[in-house]
Point group: C2
Chain length 278, copies 2
């Protein structure tokens, strides 16, 4: 089931998508093993979980088109060991497909997702979102910081803005961040890596209150904008993650996130609402 | 099942939520009749559909907390007449609930949703999003325009920015809009009205290409930020809808939307991806 030592060697010998191995376990049912490299704090990294749910639909024999959107609910902690992904095709049309995908362990639902797939074609095209202009990822003044967890260790992260624990953080400023991110094993970006990177952002309340806070994503939605050609052009290069909090209230906060190629292509956007204890 | 002439009289004799009447049809099953006032172009207004899916979970006897997020897939056109909403509680915890909700007609799935509910409590609170500063809704220079449909007739809309067909629209500018919206019958805002208003935005490609375009929402996610007190303070006053396109490509576009109270409270945010033909 696992690639063993090969995948530990680094380099682009494998892809992130390939490391989420799913083997057929019946109609619309897939078996997998939780990847320990993407463990988080008491559960699996939500970005990996979303990618596994999305892959479950993508490997279905009847799948058509490319992912357009993915909405994930995180219902229970995911433990180490085996898991199953059950999928259901809700509707298939000429250009669009609608899927449901569920990740369970021992019969207990851990995460639930909706995904849409679409066939792209040549139409009017424009990007209105404007890429920020941070120093390049090679800038020596950028700070390196990654979440102190197994999943954090899977990424190079270079911060153009103060992180939550930086001494020069201004807690009265917006809880925003600009961070260059790259896969630590130099694997080229694919849509599943985008799905994972979309969850790679510390909880925004930490920008305002310098205490340790428990936080967990409740619901997360990602829109995939990158075409196959966009992804090929990025390859294994740095990706800019732009994150802004919108509102924090009542024990919940949300953030919006954009993933940009170095050349200014909007690869994906994502929003999530999370629960926190302060 | 319907309120008949009463609800046509205008005024706050009823609420928007009450007009989505659901009667128990079994365990986790609700019967309703499509509200013709919210018909769109060949289907039901997506905002109304999202509200009906959300209400299906809210009226469940076991429902707890207030809506935090709603993600809707629009899988099939909705016809006039009866429909059913089937719900499933995916998980219930101390503060959070996760629901699935499906709207069907004659056994055919028309829309599928995930919703999360949360119990709010006193915590750190802040809003980083910044409200734009358009002229007030009473300004005589604002343009009135609503989608030429039954659902469009349910709202007062006063535009602070050029709409898609305005002669002074600059097609090279971002496909953004600032519009004051108010329920035509002066019903006070509630969370279901926010769910509906979150879909009240013409397709963004029309800002760039002045032709008639067929467009339909594929996936839509809304985060509900308003507390019960926030909603009471708004009452039946105008709500500002701020919409920006992010990227349009391959026959799909997405937009982000914010609903603001006149006093600057961020009531809800929403994103959607839609398919279009140009």
């Amino acid at each position: 089931m696992t690639l063993g030592p090969l995948r530990r060697l680094g380099g682009a010998m494998t892809s992130f998508a390939d490391t989420i191995e799913l083997s057929a376990a019946g109609d619309n049912l897939w078996d997998g093993i939780v990847d320990q490299d993407y463990r988080g704090f008491g559960s699996q990294f939500g970005g990996w979980t979303g990618a596994a749910l999305l892959k479950g639909a993508m490997v279905e024999p009847g799948a058509k088109g490319e992912p357009l959107s993915l909405s994930v609910l995180f219902t229970e902690a995911i433990n180490e060991g085996p898991y199953q992904v059950a999928t259901r095709l809700l509707r298939s049309g000429a250009r669009l497909q609608f899927w449901r995908s569920e990740l369970a362990q021992g019969g207990k639902l851990c995460a639930h997702a909706q995904a849409t797939f679409g066939v792209r074609r040549d139409t009017l095209a424009f990007t209105d979102a404007v890429m920020p202009d941070p120093p390049p990822p090679e800038d020596k003044d950028l700070r390196t910081f990654a979440p102190p967890s197994h999943f954090g260790a899977q990424y190079h992260m270079r911060w153009a803005t103060p992180g939550p624990r930086d001494p020069d953080l201004d807690p009265t400023a917006p809880a925003s961040s600009l961070v260059w991110i790259r896969d630590k094993r130099d694997r080229p970006v694919d849509v599943l890596m985008l799905a994972a990177m979309a969850d790679l952002a510390p909880p925004r309340p930490m920008w305002k209150k310098p205490t340790i806070m428990a936080s967990s994503t409740v619901s997360m939605t990602t829109h995939f904008h990158a075409t196959a050609e966009d992804l090929r052009e990025v390859g294994a290069d740095w990706i800019l993650s732009e994150v802004h909090c919108r509102r924090c209230e009542g024990g919940y906060f949300d953030h919006e996130l954009k993933l940009w190629s170095r050349g200014g292509v909007l690869l994906a956007t994502s929003e999530q609402v999370a629960a926190f204890r302060d």
